[in-house]
């Protein structure tokens, strides 16, 4: 118990010191997280022989966008950027449509073999992508899908986790709403698109964001299935690009990284709250 004014003082000072300490730690971590990115951008916009130049001369003598021009024109990172956008758009769209359709069936329909099929979904969630890698490659090679968009995209247009997430979310939609629509004469397709889907906003945006993150940042599969210069995704192109210019041109390397980061960064800034909600949902719904 706090009795004397001295103890009150001690208590208040203790709290204040704790608060200052916490802010200090938070600030140091803030720097650790942000400095690499700031450094990347500042190195990208100057012509320099050393990446430490940013620290030795914080204010550059002149800014230049030359690195970005070079990266996008002569080094095919522009094409890779386009490839990544195409791949991500199709993977996100595929998951949003197909995962939610399957999730609807599991959540709201009774059918023969439901338990078995849902067990398969759960099972696949636990199996790493690695195990499918070799057969998938030999199979798609027979389809003549090596170095094609469908080769990169198709194995990823459905995710077991997405189906699971949508099932869990759709279970909470009241039966009455679906029954009422059915009594009004709506067919199965209308019920799904006009009643169920509009109620799934938060889950669908979480699914879309998670799938965008996964497909945009996907590395190993595109590296294996799309190895020609014009079919590389931005992540693969960046890795190879860095191998080539790594220690000879820092500005170019950093400009390449900046270009690869920008689309995700813009989406993150605009949809920040939904990102956080989406990630929280994966942790809670499990």
């Amino acid at each position: 118990m706090i009795t004397s004014s001295r103890q009150v003082n001690k208590f208040i000072w203790g709290r204040r010191a704790w608060s200052v300490f916490r802010h200090l730690i938070a600030f140091v971590v803030f720097l650790v997280m942000v400095v690499p990115f700031v450094w990347m951008i500042l190195t990208a916009i100057r012509s320099t022989y050393s990446p430490l130049d940013v620290f030795l001369h914080p204010i550059p003598r002149q800014f230049t966008l030359e690195n970005f021009q070079k990266v996008l024109s002569t080094n095919q990172l522009g094409r890779a950027l386009l490839n990544s956008i195409i791949v991500s758009v199709f993977i996100v769209a595929g998951n949003v449509i197909l995962d939610s359709m399957a999730g609807y069936a599991f959540a709201k329909k009774e059918f023969v073999g439901k338990g078995f099929l849902f067990a398969i979904v759960l099972l696949i969630m636990m199996i790493p992508f690695y195990v499918t890698l070799v057969p998938l490659f030999t199979m798609l090679a027979q389809f003549k899908w090596v170095n094609t968009y469908q080769g990169i995209i198709m194995p990823h247009v459905v995710s077991a986790f997405g189906i699971f997430m949508m099932t869990q979310f759709m279970k909470e939609i009241p039966r009455d709403l679906i029954d009422a629509a059915a009594i009004d004469g709506a067919n199965e397709f209308d019920i799904f698109t006009r009643v169920v889907i509009p109620l799934c906003g938060p889950a669908l945006s979480a699914l879309a964001i998670l799938q965008f993150l996964a497909s945009w940042n996907m590395f190993m599969w595109p590296l294996i299935i799309a190895n020609s210069a014009d079919m590389r995704t931005i992540q693969v192109a960046l890795a190879l690009f860095t191998d080539r210019y790594g220690t000879s041109n820092w500005g170019l390397t950093m400009a390449g990284s900046t270009v690869a980061l920008l689309p995700m960064l813009l989406i993150y800034i605009v949809l920040q709250r939904r990102f956080v909600q989406g990630i929280s949902m994966t942790g809670l719904k499990f």
């Binding site: 997280m33 990446p51 329909k109 199996i127 890698l133 199979m139 247009v157 459905v158």
Partner: protein, 293 residues
């Protein structure tokens, strides 16, 4: 109509909704999983020979020095990253949960590395770790520490990659911990305060026990993720120096897609799968047995 056909007819609608997703799953996941098992029993060098050899791939892997090394490195990497990231992300979540100015901005920035691809992060950190031009040696030089060889030296290469991964994923798990923390009723802290618990005690006796399911979730997700590490290794060291950063993921890639020993690569993939499957299974059992508060 008998009862079964009524049930089947009702089922047809459901099958219609399931069909597109399941066609993709069967074609691109289930068939490959089964095929990989058959592959793993064959001595198959792409384009050349393919003969059935039973368990010989598995037997030779268990005796193989490089496989042993890759396995050891994967375990070291996983243990280091999982313990590091769990402690740090929990600490960050507690730090930004309450009573901090610019909380929104701070959370946004902490999460920034988590949205960046491993390719971007690996490229930036490769420059940070550069012995001559790197940021890390520059900063350490300021406080009088000798320059280190980070990714080049056999002793520091793997820990350097682990450190980078912890940096990258701490913000992600922080978000999950924050969601867990928000689920703890404030009344419990008030009750603990009334009973005379200080900050440390209320953390030990209220936060930690109630956060147990979240901690378990983070540990298992991070473990499964770390066991499959590939991108960072491939970009930063390629498994070197002298295989000191070789992991199971990079070994599958090299065996299958550089040397084209498809049977052997499938066997490694199956061993990896069994490990990850076991971890996931244990997780489900542990989570299922959780007591609700």
């Amino acid at each position: 109509m008998n009862q079964l056909s009524v049930r089947l007819k009702k089922s047809l609608v459901a099958y219609g909704f399931l069909a597109p997703a399941f066609i993709v799953i069967i074609l691109f996941t289930i068939i490959p999983i089964v095929m990989a098992l058959f592959y793993s029993f064959r001595d198959w060098n792409f384009g050349k020979t393919s003969t059935y050899i039973g368990l010989a791939n598995y037997q030779s892997l268990l005796k193989d020095e490089l496989f042993g090394l890759a396995f050891r490195n994967t375990v070291i990497y996983t243990v280091g990253v999982v313990s590091g990231v769990t402690v740090i992300s929990l600490a960050l979540a507690l730090l930004v949960n309450t009573g901090l100015r610019f909380r929104g901005l701070i959370r946004t920035v902490y999460f920034l590395p988590a949205i960046s691809s491993m390719a971007i992060v690996a490229v930036i950190w490769k420059v940070i770790y550069n012995p001559t031009f790197g940021l890390l040696n520059y900063l350490l030089g300021k406080v009088g520490i000798q320059p280190q060889m980070w990714l080049i030296s056999p002793t520091t290469a793997l820990p350097s990659i682990m450190l980078m991964e912890i940096w990258r994923s701490a913000g992600y798990f922080m978000i999950i911990f924050l969601a867990g923390l928000q689920g703890i009723p404030a009344a419990l802290y008030d009750a603990a305060a009334v009973d005379g618990a200080d900050r440390g005690k209320s953390f030990l006796y209220v936060t930690l026990p109630l956060l147990r399911p979240t901690i378990l979730f983070v540990v298992v997700v991070a473990t499964i993720h770390s066991f499959q590490v590939f991108d960072a290794i491939y970009i930063m060291t390629g498994g070197g120096p002298a295989h000191r950063t070789e992991v199971l993921g990079s070994l599958i890639y090299i065996t299958g897609f550089l040397h084209f020993y498809l049977g052997r690569a499938s066997a490694i993939a199956y061993i990896l799968t069994i490990i990850i499957f076991t971890i996931s299974y244990i997780q489900r059992r542990l989570l299922a047995s959780e007591v609700e508060y």
